[in-house]
């Protein structure tokens, strides 16, 4: 009865194969499989525009309720998803084997995350956000209120639906097209630690906003979060290129706000469609690595005039350095063109710092002279630009001093001394070698003749 068992095993193996083939790989950085955790399955329809835009870009979405006991992001040590979307602000605990540690491990292994919080967000979501560098307002019932930048509407009069248009200035993160209409936002605000260099405000609140509970009286103390310190949507880019988006509003993703017209209070412009769809779509393109993902290959160096990489340089050598940098366009690697990639020749501090010039096809090159110091140096390229993955390349190379016969033979400042000693009757140098050889030859000839002459 081994045959059916064998067939069963083969079937299992074959079923895993497609999973392996379509996984995230270094050659194709765009994510493919995304797990979406929802509070409520009705979100699938109330936020269908968002999900369908993701599906149309080729993502496989796997919808699960947040407390579904079958949730597992990892199986046999391998991650089954490339991205995670948490649209479950009120879930206290995830089902299955996922918890805060699990989500953080997922991000630490280089995968992407979108988290949406809302009024009365649970501690679970707040903790996940805090670990990512984002601090939500401690008062659980506080929402962002803005009395001079709210969206004009007939129904909602407590100014919790705000129209925000203070976007981060980055074509990589938000796309080339300017977002004309403000973004409608209704939810909680968060602040970022100013010492954290990896978290950025993608959508910032206006200076007149503050975070408070709209149904209770304002306390005598000023609110802890106010003004432009409030961030409505933040993005984090980790050093391993994992990207995280944290939004304080779940409604921002909904069809209702995607389709709604918007008029910011105090402004006469009335827009037919809010900027939500464009904002969320472009941001998700960046989060899931369809844009702004760099790779650097072929870091090469050689002496001017040679083509192989030497194992060691000598001081005052001339050398050439080149590296190729490509950017993922969503479907293929295209050359990345930039004017500010720099290379350092580094030993405890950069002795040489040069800006690389590019040929437009992704090749960056420069040439410089090895400094007059010997030791073990590194070629270092550290490239960190807003919105792009950071490049941190280094290659070690030793540099030796002159050999004893590589110094200049005659020192120009000493020519008068050479001249003086020669004028004093010193002709020994050039003639010494020959004189000595002649002497030796003469001595041998003389002794031969003398000894063997009868």
């Amino acid at each position: 009865m081994a045959a059916p068992k064998f067939a069963f095993l083969l079937l299992n193996l074959i079923s895993i194969l497609p999973l392996l083939v379509s996984s995230f790989s270094v050659d194709r950085p765009t994510d493919r499989r995304i797990l979406v955790l929802l509070d409520d399955l009705s979100l699938k329809s109330s936020h269908s525009l968002f999900f369908s835009s993701l599906k149309s870009r080729g993502f496989d979405l796997d919808f699960k309720l947040a407390d579904d006991p079958a949730i597992a992001v990892k199986r046999y040590g391998q991650y089954m998803y490339d991205g995670l979307i948490l649209l479950s602000p009120s879930t206290e605990r995830f089902g299955g084997s996922l918890d805060v540690e699990g989500v953080l491990d997922f991000v630490d292994s280089g995968h992407d995350l979108i988290v949406a919080a809302d009024a009365n967000a649970s501690d679970l979501i707040r903790n996940i956000a805090a670990e990512c560098g984002v601090d939500f307002d401690e008062d659980p019932s506080a929402v962002v209120v803005d009395h001079s930048s709210y969206a004009v509407s007939e129904t909602e009069g407590d100014h919790t639906l705000i129209a925000a248009d203070d976007f981060i200035q980055s074509d990589v993160i938000l796309g080339n097209k300017k977002i004309e209409a403000p973004v409608l936002f209704k939810g909680i605000g968060h602040s970022l630690n100013p010492a954290n260099s990896m978290v950025l405000k993608a959508l910032s609140a206006s200076p007149s906003s503050y975070s408070t509970n709209p149904s209770s009286k304002l306390s005598s103390q000023p609110p802890s979060l106010y003004g432009t310190a409030i961030s409505l949507v933040s993005v984090v880019q980790a050093r391993n290129a994992a990207r995280i988006m944290i939004s304080g509003s779940l409604d921002m993703f909904s069809n209702r706000l995607f389709r709604a017209g918007v008029q910011k209070s105090g402004s006469l412009n009335k827009y037919e469609k809010s900027g939500n769809e464009q904002f969320i779509t472009e941001l998700s393109k960046w989060i899931f690595h369809e844009r702004g993902h760099l790779k650097a290959v072929n870091l090469r160096h050689n002496k001017v005039g040679e083509s192989e990489e030497p194992s060691m340089y000598r001081i005052n050598d001339d050398l050439e350095f080149s590296v190729e940098i490509f950017e993922w366009s969503g479907s293929s690697w295209v050359p990345h063109v930039s004017k500010d990639v720099q290379v350092q020749f580094y030993m405890m501090s950069p002795y040489v710092l040069k800006t690389l010039s590019t040929n437009g096809k992704g090749l960056y090159h420069t040439s410089f002279k090895v400094p007059d110091v010997y030791g073990v140096f590194q070629f270092k390229v550290e490239y960190q630009k807003l919105g792009y993955t950071s490049l941190s390349l280094s290659k070690q190379i030793p540099v030796r001093p002159f050999k004893h016969n590589e110094y200049e033979r005659f020192i120009t400042t000493a020519f008068p001394y050479y001249g003086a000693s020669f004028s004093m009757g010193n002709y020994v140098d050039v003639s010494t070698k020959y004189m000595i050889e002649l002497q030796m030859a003469g001595f041998f000839i003389f002794s031969g003749v003398y000894l063997y002459n009868k």
Partner: protein, 116 residues
């Protein structure tokens, strides 16, 4: 009056020295000229070093000492060759010159090694 007396004395001294020197034989005068040349070269080198700095110090020393060394050897040659010198009455001048050449050779061997 004292001044004119001193200058007169200086002039007289200078003239007597000149006339006495004119009486020395020619071979000694040639040696004297060579010594003068060697010392002048040494002084020029020191002046050059004062301007440019002592960077290849070994070359500087070598150059100056070659000049000073040959000057010293020329002085000893002059002593041995001078007919008025009773100590070296029996020394043939060719022997003195041969000594001078050999010593110069040794000196310049060292000089050229140290010159760099």
């Amino acid at each position: 009056m004292g001044r004119s007396a001193t200058t007169k004395d200086a002039h007289a001294l200078f003239h007597s020295l000149r006339s006495a020197y004119a009486a020395t034989p020619n071979n000694l005068k040639i040696i004297d000229l060579y010594i003068l040349f060697a010392v002048a070269t040494a002084v020029i080198q020191v002046a050059y070093m004062a301007i440019v700095g002592s960077f290849p110090f070994n070359s500087f020393l070598s150059g100056v000492l070659s000049c000073v060394g040959t000057a010293v050897l020329a002085v000893s040659l002059r002593i041995q060759v001078n007919k008025d010198n009773k100590e070296f009455k029996d020394l043939p001048p060719e022997r003195a010159f041969a000594d001078f050449v050999l010593c110069n050779l040794v000196l310049h061997l060292v000089i050229i090694n140290f010159l760099g």
